[in-house]
């Protein structure tokens, strides 16, 4: 994994610039798949004004590095970039960015989704939503466990 592949930060990021940096000066990349996760204004029918993301400094980076290393073992990847923000984020704000470069699109798509699925279930982040009725910790979704589990079957 190239240094700088993973960032855990308060600051916003520029998805276009990050994706460009991943392929700068290269002519062997055929496919770049990216994902951006954003704070939505509704979650299960209740309005959300903002959220605060808590994380576990140290473990967060280690968990993300392990997920990226797993992806690199499964697919022939030419570059990976993961950024996850923490702190208070208003609706519409970017939370997470994953970009994967590969020679072919199948590997790029699969690895990008794989990283997101495991990030959702293995990386120690917790969301607390601000609603008109107060703060509320977001419950883990069973669908996220299912999404991660399907990669096991394909292994």
């Amino acid at each position: 994994m190239t240094p700088g592949a993973i960032s855990v930060q308060r600051e916003d990021f520029d998805p276009g610039r990050e994706a460009d940096a991943l392929i700068a000066g290269r002519r062997d990349v055929g496919a770049v798949a990216t994902f951006v996760g954003l704070v939505r204004d509704a979650n299960e029918g209740c309005g959300v004004d903002a959220m605060t993301l808590e994380h576990y400094p140290g473990m967060t980076e280690a968990a993300l590095e392990e997920i990226v290393a797993d992806a690199q073992q499964r697919w022939p990847l030419q570059g990976v970039r993961v950024i996850h923000r923490y702190g208070r984020l208003e609706t519409g704000a970017r939370i997470v960015f994953v970009a994967v470069a590969s020679a072919h699109r199948g590997a790029a798509f699969a690895a990008c989704e794989f990283i997101m699925d495991f990030l959702k279930t293995r990386a120690p982040f917790w969301k607390k939503e601000e609603t008109p009725d107060g703060g509320r910790w977001v419950d883990a979704r069973e669908a996220d466990d299912d999404a991660a589990a399907r990669w096991q079957k394909k292994a």
Binding site: L53, Y56, H84, K120, A123, P124, W126, K127
Partner: protein, 84 residues
């Protein structure tokens, strides 16, 4: 032995505690035993720590109730993660 314990998110709020350093008695050698030891402090510890979906990490790696802990280890308790 002494270990560092961390609590995160809803569990941190329920316990009113982000972390502590604890001297463990003989007989507390894994995560499940540490959980039982902390729960024995009283209802305000027992109730939050009895949640069925509680997750654990030892030295910043995901762990289970059987995972061994040793002197100087960092043990974390937290709810299922919800990032991304």
């Amino acid at each position: 032995m002494q270990v560092k314990i961390l609590y995160f998110a809803g569990l941190r709020e329920a316990l009113g505690c982000a972390g502590e350093t604890v001297e463990l008695p003989v007989g507390v050698g894994n995560v499940g035993e540490l959980r039982a030891f902390l729960s024995a402090r009283g209802d305000s510890w027992q109730t939050p720590l009895s949640r069925g979906n509680l997750r654990f990490a030892v030295n910043q790696r995901m762990a289970g109730p059987e995972s061994a802990i040793g002197p100087g280890d960092e043990v974390a308790f937290f709810p299922p993660v919800t990032g991304g």
